[in-house]
Symmetry: C2
């Protein structure tokens, strides 16, 4: 088989065979094919699309390009949650311990900050001592002891994705529903899951701003997951503003811990409610409840009872994190500088360009520009108002945290153009826009 | 400027600016852009197309990517002919000396055998001592002395094309009218021409089998040439069978020499007639005749009078070739083995898959499979019948020449499936299908 023939076939709009797709993926993973052939193929896929058959073959070839975690490895049902990336999205720190407290295994392999979105690993690493670089045996051991473990990708898990992802970034082939689906699902399926809950973001803070694109991606991911033997559900959820109040690293952990400890705050109700819904689906797919609704009730109880907090505490401890900061979170936040971003005039927060808010968080130092850059654990934004809140001129809308004062100028400019104070009443939309299961997925598959 | 933004813009169907195209071409020529970015861009161009503005910018950026030959370098008008590649196409050995004999300069930079098509340089190198690797000063000196020089590309002429061409070959982006046009025209315009005659092949032996595709390519090349200040004309000509009788290396030189020496053969009349037409257009574009028709008459006279033969003889001598083999061509052909390919039954030669005939020539040893392979100077095919000829069972249709007898099996199989002997009368088509000038080029630009 010759790569040039496979590229030509895709370029000319034909469906590739499983063997042809495996050939390209293996060549990418082993770096035995030259980069120009991988790139030309990716661009042809971007422009000519893929059938569901091809997408399944691509996902499976990537999934099995390295080591995989077998099903039943944990002696109990394994479930996970994956989000397509948002601003202030710290649901993982709630759903993983809730599901663990429900008696499930949560082998969560997660990522770092990318562009305007935050990274789960960067947030966890703001806890002193917390290690996200474990070997697979260490990963299993943490899950055995605590029910959940959140760590980074290992060298041997889905190596094809590492190569393809870096290449997509350089060749303008990132924003393809097919390629995003294969990248996410190959990694999640390599975890050996029984059930997977996807949180597909839509709106101004998501990578796919159009709801149709989010629905299509959700449809593809659910169909690929189910075809590979993992019960899969997708919640398409709004990302018009940061989830909760905090967007950064440590301040997001602190916000999650507050909810785990039962503290109530009306401005983080969106975070609590979405986390309980996602965890409810995890509990249901993991067979611990008869319906998603009763799973949701169970998730609420596990959060309120402190069981989820104990799971989180155990996980942090097992991964080397200093639990003192979890037990006394308010003492720990030590940003170098802080400044309020205030309302210029009075009115109602009616609109937010949430991606710009994410870029402000990144520019404050919480995200990174280059892959090898460190992030500031204490930087970020903390909101005092959310969409629909009434503000008066001079009221703080949010507080900016950074290493030093000279970091505030650009984030301030970004926030000024991102946040709209109007005088019309705000029309809230439900946070969960649509639930996509294998029963309704096919109808969203051909959306553009 | 970032390559990824240029790739994204083309991918999304937008027109690139001159600066963006120059950025990509310079990055390719200097190898400062990684191969995956060039490849993704080429595939996006292949699939999304280019406007005439973009194509002109691409051609000019490639043309000026290295050294160029200035206009008026030769003290007389400079003209050239370029063919898109055929089987048995040896018109260069006739048109270059005819135009030189007409008082024009012919700075012809040519190529090697590629796939099923022969290479002008390989054919010339079958003349012992003939050197095709000259420096630009040597090139100019041969033209000063003899009027014409045919040599290979230098390292410094159009380096962008060398990089892009090799990459297109590996990424299934060869067969794009835009990319073919830019590749050919950048090299030809770098020769500093006043006039350029293009022989765009169509039919089973050409790279573009469909006439519409050939017309479109001709239209693009004529418009790009004229927009760059070179008078350009394209003849779209049939390639349903080899031109003349010989397809190989030395045997093609010998056939051209026979015509230059005034020998008449009805089976090479197609070659003579096309060469005189092409040379007639060169003479007209070079300002040596008032019309293409009178240029054609002048070309015929220069061929018959022996003036063109003397020019060819001088060029071979000036490039180090042994002129004895030109003066006594029949003594020189020494193939290791020969075998007739005979008619299985009686009838009329009604059809030929000319690309398969080209592959038979290649497999006999006259072409190459890998870039660095040597070719056999004496291998090839010599036809005793052409389309429309009546043959009897057992009559030789052509003679195969190779290094040894064991090379005949595969070419024989190819010829058997390529050549059709029927009992219907053959309906010949005119060899010159269409003449595309700047006056009618626009109407063929949007053909698919």
């Amino acid at each position: 088989m010759h790569a040039v023939d496979v590229i030509r076939k895709k370029r000319d709009g034909f469906e590739l065979s499983v063997a042809e797709i495996e050939f390209m993926v293996r060549g990418a993973a082993a770096e035995s094919l030259p980069p120009e052939q991988i790139a030309a193929w990716l661009m042809a896929v971007w422009l000519c699309g893929m059938s569901l058959h091809e997408l399944r073959a691509l996902t499976q070839a990537m999934r099995f390009s390295g080591e995989v975690i077998g099903p039943f490895s944990f002696g109990k049902k394994a479930v996970d949650k994956h989000s397509t990336g948002g601003v202030g999205d710290k649901t993982s720190f709630l759903v993983a311990p809730i599901a663990a407290a429900a008696g499930l295994a949560v082998p969560m392999i997660s990522g770092r900050a990318l562009g305007h979105t935050g990274g789960t690993l960067d947030k966890l690493e703001s806890i002193p001592g917390y290690s996200t670089q474990l070997s697979l045996p260490e990963f299993r051991s943490v899950i055995d002891r605590t029910g959940a473990c959140i760590m980074g990708q290992t060298q041997n898990l889905v190596p094809a994705d590492r190569v393809l992802y870096a290449m997509r970034d350089r060749t303008a082939t990132v924003e393809s529903a097919n390629l995003i689906c294969a990248s996410v699902m190959s990694k999640k399926l390599a975890e050996g899951l029984d059930g997977l809950v996807l949180d597909v973001k839509t709106g101004s803070g998501s990578f796919l701003r159009e709801e149709a694109a989010s629905l299509r991606l959700a449809s593809l991911m659910v169909q690929i997951g189910e075809a590979s033997g993992t019960r899969t559900i997708a919640l398409v959820t709004g990302m018009e503003q940061p989830l909760g109040r905090a967007a950064g690293n440590w301040i997001e952990i602190a916000e999650a811990v507050a909810l785990l400890r039962g503290e109530f705050d009306p401005l983080t109700e969106d975070l609590r409610s979405l986390s309980v819904s996602l965890a409810g689906w995890m509990i249901y797919l993991g067979g611990k409840s008869d319906t998603a609704e009763s799973g949701r009730e169970m998730a609420g109880h596990l959060l309120e009872s402190g069981a989820a907090y104990r799971s989180f505490h155990a996980m942090v401890h097992a991964q080397g994190g200093n639990v003192d900061v979890i037990e006394n979170p308010s003492d720990f936040h030590k940003p170098g500088a802080r400044k309020d971003f205030v309302a210029r005039h009075s009115g109602i927060l009616t609109d937010m360009d949430c991606a710009k808010v994410g870029w402000a968080v990144q520019r404050l130092g919480a995200g990174r520009e280059r892959e090898d850059e460190p992030v500031d654990a204490h930087a970020g934004l903390y909101f005092h108002a959310k969409l629909g809140s009434e503000v008066k001129a001079g009221d703080p809308i949010c507080t900016m945290f950074a290493e030093s004062k000279d970091k505030f100028a650009e984030p301030q400019r970004l926030l000024l153009s991102a946040i709209c104070i109007g005088n019309q009443p705000y029309q809230p939309q439900p946070l969960i826009r649509k639930i996509i299961s294998i029963d309704n997925a096919a109808q969203f598959q051909h959306l553009k």
